[in-house]
Symmetry: C2
Subunit: 207 residues, 2 copies
DNA sequence: AAAAATACTTAACATTGTTAATATTCCAAA
DNA sequence: TTTGGAATATTAACAATGTTAAGTATTTTT
């Protein structure tokens, strides 16, 4: 069946074209400038053609959100050599904060916008793999830190979500302008780092 | 000048009608159902009339966001009698988490949506009073807790933002569906409370 | 009573996501 | 080779949105 195979390939190619165009728009012009018509312009098809390859706009954003996770995962490669779990926790937090502040648009679709999650719900495979594995990495580290006795012990999941919550809270308050009237803009990155530092020092049980 | 005075009064009345209609729509039908045309329908004026009283939609949302803060402030009245700063911190966190999970739409305009902050920037008095005083209340409590030696000492502002970040992170991850695929929906409120508890136990220096 | 300022509305613009109906292309069977 | 039907693509349109320009009443001032 060489023909249907080629057709299949072509179909995937156009899907890729659509995603590439979306990503280009997303990166160069931001979230709100990713419109079906602009995507169609870039790939030189009519707007409605997009709907032959994706159910709706949210499904496209779901794929962009995946790419965001790929980038964050790549950044987290620098954790590999760190043995001390508290140090690793610190570096993870720093990576997360830095990624969020430097890539607010990515961060938005990964952790704030409704769209990608709506699309996820309607998928055949509706597991949030990326979120799941990111949280698992965190839980692993927290667990290790607890067992080593370097941080206060307790429910690993609850503690991990507290940590995630804290860094997510700082990033999302920052990129949604909730710090702008409270502290000078240029001090925000340093401040969120200080917050992370205080937090990790506070939970450090070796002191 | 009785006439201009009456006129002034009428003008404020229509402003109030617009805000009331917006609030009604907001509460009964949610954020995305607050449209200029629906507001106009309720107050029985044409859509364009709304623009004679408010610069744009964001300015309306700015006022709704204020109402949200009023509600949260009211809830926080129950902190008055609590002397132990750590206990007060705990209750503040619990209030915040509960308010956010129970009033996701309010929470959205208060801490997530861009709109109200955009409107704030363009005001003559562009201070974020509500955010400022909420953060001050927190800083005061954190400061007290540090001086009493019940929590790890350090930069008060950084620590306060860590606390705020944590509760905000938990609420916003929850209401933007980031927990839905990670833990059963009915366990979310209990889980965020456990996170807060672990956090406060961890920073508690009396143990 | 005429002129000027105020208040309000009608109509329209430029977008958006999305769908129904229609046309085109392409491949397999008659 | 022609024909029929599936796959693919397009045109046109719908229903909304926020917002503005232009025009019409209404009311106040001169």
């Amino acid at each position: 069946m060489g023909i249907t195979e080629r057709k299949e390939k072509q179909k995937l190619e156009i899907r890729k074209m659509i995603l590439d165009a979306s990503m280009k728009l997303f990166i160069e012009e931001g979230y709100e400038n990713v419109t079906i018509r602009k995507i169609a312009d870039i790939i030189e098809y009519s707007p409605t053609t997009v709907y032959l390859y994706f159910k709706d706009k949210d499904e496209i954003f779901y794929h962009l959100h995946e790419q965001g996770f790929a980038r964050l995962t790549e950044i987290n490669q620098n954790l590999a050599g760190i043995d001390n779990p508290l140090m690793r926790l610190y570096k993870m937090g720093e990576n997360y904060l830095h990624f969020g502040l430097e890539n607010p648009e990515y961060y938005d679709i990964m952790f704030i916008q409704h769209g990608p999650m709506k699309a996820l719900m309607e998928r055949e495979d509706c597991n949030w793999h990326y979120g799941d594995s990111a949280l698992n990495l965190l839980k692993q580290t927290v667990n290790e830190a607890m067992e080593n006795g370097v941080i206060y012990k307790g429910n690993v999941e609850a503690a991990s979500m507290a940590v995630w919550g804290m860094v997510h809270g700082l990033v999302s308050l920052a990129i949604r302008e909730r710090f702008d009237k409270l502290i000078p803009k240029e001090e925000i990155p340093a401040m969120v780092n200080k917050s992370l530092n205080w937090f990790l020092s506070a939970v450090d049980k070796r002191s």
